[in-house]
Amino acid sequence: MSRVKELRKSLFGGRTSNARQFGMIFTLVAIVLLFQILTNGLTLNSGNLVSLVSQYSYILILAIGMLMVIVAGHIDLSVGSIAAFVGIVVAKVMQDYSIPWFLAILIGLAVGAAIGAWQGFWVAYVGVPAFIVTLAGMMLFRGGNQFIGNADTVPVPEGFRIIGAGFLPEAGPNTGYNNLTLLLGLLLCVAVVVREWRARRTRREMAADVTPMWISVIRVAVPIVVVVFATLRFAGGRVGTSFPVSGIILGVLVLIYAFVTRNTAGGRHIYAVGGNARAAELSGVKLKRVNFLVMMNMSVLAALAGMIFVARSAASGPQDGIGWELDAIAAVFIGGAAVSGGLGTISGSIVGGLVMAVLNNGLQLMGVGSDRVQIIKGLVLLLAVALDVYNKKQGRFSIIESLMRPFRRDAPTAPAPPVAAGQEHGKSPVAG
């Protein structure tokens, strides 16, 4: 086995979804570097990274929920309207009844859950296709937003703005950096090391092939370098800014949902339902409950995203949330989910969302008008998915294969031998 092949298999599992993901990470890095050069270093500048995170965290939060909806074989077109609806409810409640902001957030989440239960009911128990239910929801809740807010812009109090425009506070001795952000970075580094160490220990205990040492080192060193770099950038920005609170909310959600979708029975049921609903039901998966919870979960996340946007904008307005569903759906598909359901990962969707975010931001930094930005984003979405579809049809399995082919001397065009799949036990094709 060549080193390249070994690396690919060990790092990314070598299967369709994971290899696609590697392709996306590769694309993300390439785009970041490209814009870093084109904008003379502005892309990775502290201030820009801070605004990048706070500008796109709510879209990425939507992408988490949307991934689960799409994996289950549905679609949700109502997220933008729900976000706008919850936003105006929360703003109004705080304005008219002077309710404290943390209570208002709970109210917002409860409204999101209620809306989700409403939509989940129609999808799961009545059997109306999610496309229709959420299309109806899109109109319903957009109208609700205008009705409650009189199509007016309603400001929110200062305290509430923390979740959208807040940063980790300054604490401890003056180190020239934001100490809490440094601490966060350190924790992440430790987590990366511990995770790799435990993975190796598990494989040894199970008497499985332990990955070569040099691969482990790469697997630890690369993320640490990235984390250290990002930490210093976020911690070293203008005083008063540091890692955004909305980014922390996003990070926590990514960890939780990645664990749920990968390592819990409930999470695997979503993939089973999306892969083959009939088979899943016959194997004892509670189809209706899974569909209900997936739709409900999406609405709760949409509510959260809506509140973060309102907090960031300091006001809830009638144009909030327009087009968000499309951004979230685009992120999920660019991140490697299958249109037919059953395939896709949380981390892939986040990477997909980041590709769009960096592209958008980089083009804006270069002063490209929003008309051309939209054209470019549309083409990127189409090409990313088309390339993958094309590669599947050719019997190769992904972008990465075609990227790697020119570098290989033996160039086999056949899919990976089944042996490779055999060695993969303990790793699921959709995990990541």
Binding site: V239, S313, A314, Q319, S370
Partner: protein
């Protein structure tokens, strides 16, 4: 194995220390803010963030800014918000301008109340923020406001509506309908209040009747300043109220909506009422010359942009920009020093003189 992992961690820690040593964190630029005491380099970057290209005016303003700033020796970055995700786009564009180190950011807001975070970040990074045409609300971060006197615009529209109806039919009572702009635009209410300050006494006296009874700004609002919304509302008004009565006049806040209203009335096969407007859009100037739309307002975008660029130049030189109103424009947390320009009403009677100096519109009046 653990050995190598440990080495990896050590390497990471060393890298961290190495980078710590060259921290560029400072709050020098944060403290500097826009006192405009010292001015800035003559070839600095000036950011201009405008709303979506929904009316000719914004497109024209963008071109004038690009050329005007270039002539004045500045670098410019002129951006329009996208047509669907307007607010988020504009927020991102302003952040990008701050990142690029713009010294002055001119903002024609899409939603005047949703930009505080970005405006404050711009301020903290040392940029001066000028609100162009629409006042940015609820933030300390906005330094100046430059616009046409919009209350005056409303008054002129109300007066034109009365004059136009009198010229057509010497005696009242006149049936009218009211339209106002998008409710997320700060200016909509100002136009409407201005017009109502003229119309209200006549309505109370019974000389002017609002046929549908819809006189509240919430009922008359046109979401997003969209022509289709105005046309839809006019269609329903014609069906509900004017099947037998005649409609004498319609108060329309701008030209795009005025033309939509005229289209709707024409479509219903009714005689054309007196319709007001604003913005001097080419199609409406043609319409005035042809005798369809009654009036528009000439708020020459050239003068507004010229005034804004003059402010930028003053700031560059370290002078305080000229303002002529320091009382009227309260954005919710502060009174913003403003420079107001005088609008001009245009009807068929003065259309030729009004646009004599305008290279695009003058040929249309001949």
């Amino acid at each position: 194995m653990r050995n190598i992992l440990a080495r990896g961690v050590a390497a990471g820690a060393i890298a961290l220390l190495a980078l710590t040593a060259c921290s560029q964190r400072s709050d020098s630029n944060a403290g500097g803010s826009a006192d405009s005491g010292k001015g800035f380099a003559a070839n600095s970057l000036i950011g201009v963030a405008l709303p979506a290209k929904t009316s000719q005016n914004w497109v024209l303003a963008g071109d004038l800014f690009t050329n005007g700033l270039k002539e004045a020796g500045f670098q410019s970055d002129v951006q329009y918000a996208g047509s669907s995700t307007t607010v988020a786009d504009q927020q991102a564009q302003i952040s990008a301008m701050v990142t690029k180190g713009a010294k002055v950011i001119v903002i024609g807001a899409t939603d005047a109340a949703q930009l505080s975070t970005q405006v404050e970040a711009a301020k903290a990074a040392g940029a001066t923020v000028i609100a162009y045409d629409r006042l940015i609300k609820n933030t300390q971060g906005v330094d100046y406001y430059v616009a046409y006197d919009n209350f005056k615009v409303g008054q002129l529209q109300g007066q034109a509506l009365l004059d136009g109806m009198k010229a057509k039919k010497p005696k009242g009572p006149y049936n009218i309908e009211l339209f106002s702009g998008s409710s997320d635009d700060n200016n909509s209410a100002v136009f409407f209040d201005g017009a109502m300050s003229v119309l209200k006494p006549q309505i109370d006296a019974g000389d002017v009747v609002v046929g549908s009874g819809q006189t509240d700004i919430k009922q008359t609002a046109t979401d997003g300043w969209k022509a289709e919304n105005a046309q839809r509302r006019m269609d329903s008004l014609v069906t509900s109220t004017y099947t037998s009565k005649t409609l004498d006049g319609v108060l329309s806040p701008n030209d795009t909506l005025a033309r939509a209203i005229i289209t709707s009335v024409k479509g219903a096969g009714k005689p054309l009422p007196v319709v007001t407007g604003q913005d001097s859009e080419a199609e409406s100037v043609k319409s005035i010359v042809a005798g369809e739309q009654y009036s528009t307002i000439n708020k020459d975008t050239r003068n507004l942009v010229k005034q804004t660029i003059q402010m930028v130049k003053d700031l560059q030189a370290g002078k305080a920009p000229q303002v002529n109103d320091t009382k009227s424009y309260n954005n919710g947390v502060k009174v913003v020093p403003s420079y107001l320009l005088k609008p001009l009403i245009v009807t068929k009677a003065n259309v030729v003189e009004a646009y004599a100096n305008d290279p695009n519109l003058a040929p249309l009046t001949k």
